[in-house]
Amino acid sequence: MGSTSVNRRDVMKRAAAAGLLAVPAVGALTSCASGGGEENKAEKGEKSKKNPLGVKADAGLTVYIFNGGYGDKYAQFVTDMYAKKYPKADPEQKPTEKIATQVQPKIVRGKPTADVVNNSGADQMNPGKLVHNKQVADLAEVLDAPSWDDPNVTVRETLVPVVEQMGRFGGNECYQLNIALTVYGNWYSKKLLEDGLESEYPKTWDEMLAVCKKAKAKGIHGWSYPGGHPRYMFFSMYAMFAQRGGRDVTTAMDYLEPNAWKHEAVKDVFEAWEELVAKKYVLTGFDGTEAHTEMQTAWTKEGKCLFVPNGSWVENEAKDTTPKDFAMQVGATPSLDSGDKMPFGTLYSPAGEPFIVPAKAKNRQGGLEWLRMMYSKEAALNLFKEIGSMPVVKGAIDGQKLPSGTASAQAAIKAAGDNIVIPQFMDWYNELFREDFNNMIHKFMQGQIGPKQAMDTMQKASDRIMKDPDITKVKKA
């Protein structure tokens, strides 16, 4: 019987050898194969005057909405509109804070469950990549379609031009549609500034420093910085780059030109901010993931700081902590001196809250129709009522009584006229903003690096993206 002698140790040795291969360090390696390129089997119905996009009445519709500062009620309004027009479709809305996590894997596999996606928030999908991979639909069909309210006017004609400009990724196709105008700048309480400090809104940087000094004497910080989200500083800085050096400076950043970030104007702006940091006018200590709300509470409820770098969603987001007589206002970034190329009032005001339709969405026509409804006067007005932001639909909120922040934002847009600047690199190469600018400005705001290193870091990052074969470049048209 002793012929098949195998001892316990032999078995164990082999099992152990096999087990060694299972080092768990690469848990993140995926086993998913790249999907095949099958034909689009989107559901389509008959096109007609009443149904210009050819929506199939009983095809289900799934809408993913980023559930952030704006919530998702404004979108539910549109989804309800859809349900009313297509009762058999039974549209479903899914609010989430994790857009990329929930939506992207399915898009990558070529089987999206979403028909419309509000691609926003910290976990947004990289739109440039989606465009490059042909995973998002060209939205020209919506723009060319008759608008919801007036069949003689196309959707395109009802929107402010910046919407289509921002949806293009180098070509003529439009892949992304934004719904609300955002005004970035220096937000403050008119009451604190004018009554408490007896000052005017500073139009020059010298005035800014003077106001901050005055505030410091009263135990208030002139500025604030949400350390957990350093990128907020960009909201107050960007218009200054353009203001100082003209549009050439910002265009050079967009097209990743050599030495774009080493321009004299960029240096001047960084130096101005360096002084603000060095003089300790900045209220810090908001470091977690909730940094922005902590900062906003310190600003509105506790009155610890005067200016916050922010965008026009803040009025809605900070609603619960804002006193009734706070008189929230937004101001354009101050001029440095008479050497500026663009006037005071130059405004960083893009259209925000981007929406996309996956190229292989099951109910693509339905997704497009949902967007057409979003751009109806009715939905635009509701959007304004829900979130207090200005819709991109022209004239949608005429005659409305505006809350103070929104009113000041609208006034700022009017005052800016043509001097509106938009950093396109944020859509094209958002790594440059979300990662590199974010990391750099954090060190800068802590006083760890000066203007020179700040500019070097950004230029290096811009050059890296230029050289990276994985990133599709947008060429100058």
Binding site: V11, A18, S31, P230
Partner: protein
């Protein structure tokens, strides 16, 4: 073949017996190994393949040779993250294992002379055994969120406590890289110590009491007993723990992602994740492959270095 069918002429042949032995082993291992190959090995091979492509999540993945590795070599952000990971790899096991061993020793042998026994745990050691294990029961995400709150600059427990005694607490997670690293190390060690306390307690419990009695009769103190008796006798367990903790440290993903803002510091797996998020799948997998080889190299080195003669008892 079963013994009774084995032909007489080969029955005592060495080569046949070797063959037969392997047949026997394969018979047992074939099915599990097939599953293992399908669900564990093949993803690895696929990942290695994808690391040589420019796959970006679309249907096309072009072969690009070593481009991804070249890019990684020149990518400062990768080296930054690897530096953090390497620091964790060195410090976290030392910290965790030393503390784990200390607590385990206290639990099993710290309370010498109690009740007239040669060795016993400190008072209440059965309670400690359970308490130390608590962090293991919590999910990693919860640990990261809770500790994130504890480290909060303005309203956190730590700075709040420092405030009470008149000290201005630093920005633990919002500023300096060193402070971020200390915070991260604290949380990693805190969450893994319990596991090692249990592991080492079990190993120490298996050491015969008479060895301790002998040491006691010879006049050895606690420290001496530990270094000359306990540690050599549990060395194998320590080495295993070392490898496991090292891999855990290299793999610290969730805690770092949830708790530490990415602009303060990030470990390599977080950097990898960000590349996935940006649709650079080929590049991300190549980082994963490098991590795989790093952890294998680490395991092999520790096994080599820590190789000692086993003491039988």
């Amino acid at each position: 073949m079963p013994p009774r069918f084995t032909p007489e002429r080969v029955r005592y042949d060495r080569r046949y017996r070797t063959l037969d032995k392997y047949r026997f082993i394969v018979g047992f291992l074939a099915v599990p190994l097939a599953f293992y190959a399908l669900f564990v090995i093949s993803p690895f091979i696929q990942a290695i393949y994808y690391s040589f492509t420019d796959w970006s999540g679309g249907p096309v993945a072009n072969f690009v040779g070593f481009d991804n590795y070249e890019k990684m070599w020149n990518d400062e952000r990768f080296w930054d993250s690897l530096r953090v990971s390497a620091l964790l790899l060195v410090i976290a096991p030392v910290l965790t294992l030393v503390l784990g061993m200390f607590f385990a020793y206290m639990i099993t042998s710290g309370g010498r002379h109690r009740r007239g026994r040669a060795i016993a745990g400190v008072a209440g050691s059965s309670v400690y055994k359970v308490v130390y294990f608590f962090p293991q029961v919590l999910s990693v995400a919860i640990i990261a969120v809770v500790w994130g709150r504890v480290f909060n600059t303005n309203s956190g427990l730590i700075n709040g406590g420092l405030d009470k005694v008149g000290v201005d607490g630093p920005a633990w997670l919002g500023g300096d890289e060193t402070l971020g690293l200390i915070s991260l190390l604290t949380v990693i060690s805190w969450s893994f110590i319990g596991f090692y306390v249990v592991l080492f307690s079990a190993a120490m419990g298996a050491i015969p009491k008479d060895i301790y009695e002998a040491a006691l009769l010879d006049g050895a103190g606690r420290a001496r007993t530990f270094f000359n008796v306990t540690l050599p006798l549990i060395w194998d367990t320590v080495r295993t723990g070392w490898i496991y903790m090292g891999i855990q440290a290299l793999d610290t993903f969730a805690i770092c992602l949830v708790m530490v803002p990415p602009h303060v510091l990030k470990v390599t797996p977080v950097f990898l994740y960000e590349r996935f998020r940006d649709g650079q799948y080929g590049y991300a997998t190549s980082i994963g492959v490098v991590l795989l080889f790093l952890s294998m190299a680490f395991s092999l080195i520790v096994m080599r270095v820590g190789n000692r003669d086993r003491i039988e008892y």
